[in-house]
Symmetry: C2
Subunit: 188 residues, 2 copies
């Protein structure tokens, strides 16, 4: 279980306890309302179990919240300050492509990602990935060839590109050294 998941699990646990206590419900009461055993809810709140989608659905139902909203609240619950050593990092085992989530979960829809793209690596994205967001790409090191639909942009260190309407895109590093760039995006 990596850092990202640990945070998620802990945040979900806290959020469920919070929603329950806000309503003044005991474990037994929530158990009765949701149909999930109180032993299980206790374990979930203490991070001793990872709830299934089924159980999360029942709990969010009892709270009268859509599941996505319960999760969003959980993610928002964390700190406004995200220390460098707590930022979630994800690395593609195959290409060495690395993505670091800079922003705290409380991003108010604004997210910063720092990406390292090894030389020669090509990363395609479907148009749907850009459907509900605006984003900019700021190259901080190396060079990047960014294909936005049919249009190809050659970006060098310091360049910053704002993306247009959603299109299938490809990130490609044509150079001999790692490319580094920052993605800034706002949701919706």
């Amino acid at each position: 279980m990596d850092l990202h998941e640990q945070q998620a699990a802990g945040a979900i646990a806290e959020r469920i306890r919070l929603e329950r206590e806000d309503r003044g419900w005991s474990l037994s009461e929530l158990a009765e309302r949701s149909g999930v055993s109180k032993a299980m809810i206790s374990k979930i709140e203490r991070c001793e179990a990872s709830p299934t989608a089924t159980v999360l659905g029942r709990l969010s139902g009892a709270f009268g919240l859509p599941l996505s909203r319960l999760l969003a609240l959980a993610e928002q619950a964390s700190e406004r300050l995200m220390r460098a050593d707590r930022q979630a990092i994800w690395k593609d085992p195959e290409t060495g492509y690395t993505r670091r989530a800079i922003s705290p979960a409380t991003g108010n829809g604004l997210e910063l990602l720092e990406v390292t793209l090894p030389a020669g690596v090509r990363i395609p994205y479907p148009a749907s990935a850009f459907a509900f967001q605006r984003q900019q790409i700021w190259v901080t090191g190396g060079e990047l060839e960014f294909a936005e639909g049919e249009v190809v942009h050659h970006l060098r260190q310091g360049d910053c590109l704002e993306l247009g309407s959603p299109q299938p895109c490809v990130f490609f590093n044509p150079g001999k050294i790692d490319a580094r760039y920052v993605i800034a995006l706002t949701r919706r």
Copy 2:
């Protein structure tokens, strides 16, 4: 498993398959990227297993999406037309309080709920439940005593109240017959 959960599970399954296929990834490829076995991903996509929060976290990580966003997309994926017989209903076993989700998941932030509140029943909500939404209450049958912080509103059939700033609220049915009302709310 009630209707709400069935839909959720099915929608999650579809969404995961969609995100995977959009990226042109095979089960093996997603398995490698996410650290979840391809057998498990196959079961999840075919609704033969309910993924744990841990596994959902790994999958959303591989897609580069926050978990709440993946779930939100899953919920949005359903039809624009929500047939009456497919609307999720939740009933409090203790009080008989019933809530029906009228709107399709594609509500664009607009949700309609129809509530039946039995005579004499009292339902409190914490202020936090109203934090990121505007809502109105429209009484369609019986009468409703709605306490918004210190202020108490007596609502009769046909009345419609717009809620103010977030405060702890209480729904109470002072009458002798079921109260029925519609909640219209916009998120954020």
